[in-house]
């Protein structure tokens, strides 16, 4: 049987499960054009 400590670590791992945003390619250097900017809420916010 899974030890209790292991089960709770597994649970916390499930809670922190990385998602596709975590796995996305890093972009440290942002050209001024690609810097975040508060655009209208009506604009699409997903590519």
């Amino acid at each position: 049987d899974m030890p209790v400590s292991m089960a709770s670590q597994l649970e916390s791992s499930l809670l922190n499960c990385p998602d596709s945003l975590d796995a996305d390619t890093p972009h440290l250097f942002q050209t001024p054009l690609s810097l975040p900017h508060p655009t209208s809420i009506f604009f699409p916010n997903e590519t």
């Binding site: 996305d24 001024p32 690609s34 655009t39 604009f43």
Partner: protein, 187 residues
């Protein structure tokens, strides 16, 4: 080791007692395959691991940038965007704003839809408006008047009926539509 052992699997009703049937008999895989972008009957088998977002559907919230390579010839292009024999550099909003005005419509639409929440989206929005395009807030598409036809304004002055050119981001093309346009729906 005989057939009786299979009974709990075969008798669906008391499946909860003995086995978790989703792991033993398994499940209908078609929705899983679909979520992976795998279409077993299609002739052309597209690789899915190169754009695999995550092992779980729930954590595959966005596309991930796949492996790609940008050849040098794509990067340092001189004599474009009035940059003279130097390749254009994008490192200040003022200069970049002027360059944006040189792009054709489709390029502006690309920047608008591909880079949400960025300075690029804002600048392309301003440039498209300058070109008489208007963004429809609910349809979330750009449209402009069909130059061939004058629309007819409604009695109450809140809308007009006419022929418009829409840019369809799904099909990535301009298409003409007759349409009733409410002035408060565009920005």
């Amino acid at each position: 080791y005989g057939l009786k052992a299979l009974l709990p699997l075969i008798r669906q009703e008391d499946q909860s007692s003995e086995y978790d049937s989703s792991m033993t008999l398994g499940i209908d895989l078609s929705p899983v395959l679909h979520s992976l972008g795998i279409h077993p009957n299609s002739v052309y088998r597209r690789k899915v691991l190169d754009t695999f977002q995550s092992p779980w559907v729930e954590t595959s919230r966005s596309e991930v940038e796949p492996r790609f390579f940008t050849p040098d010839s794509f990067k340092n292009i001189p004599n474009v965007l009035q940059a003279g024999d130097q390749p254009p550099s994008f490192n200040s909003v003022q200069q970049d704003h002027a360059k944006i005005a040189l792009f054709q419509d489709e390029t502006l639409f690309y920047l608008f839809y591909k880079h949400p929440g960025t300075v690029a989206q804002e600048l392309t929005y301003l440039e498209l408006r300058k070109r008489n395009w208007r963004y429809h807030k609910t349809l979330k598409v750009w449209l402009t008047k069909d130059p061939m036809m004058e629309p007819i304004v409604a009695q109450d002055g809140a809308s007009e009926r006419g022929s418009y050119v829409f840019f369809d981001p799904q099909r990535w093309e301009k298409c003409q539509r007759d349409f009733v346009l409410f002035y408060n729906a565009i920005m």
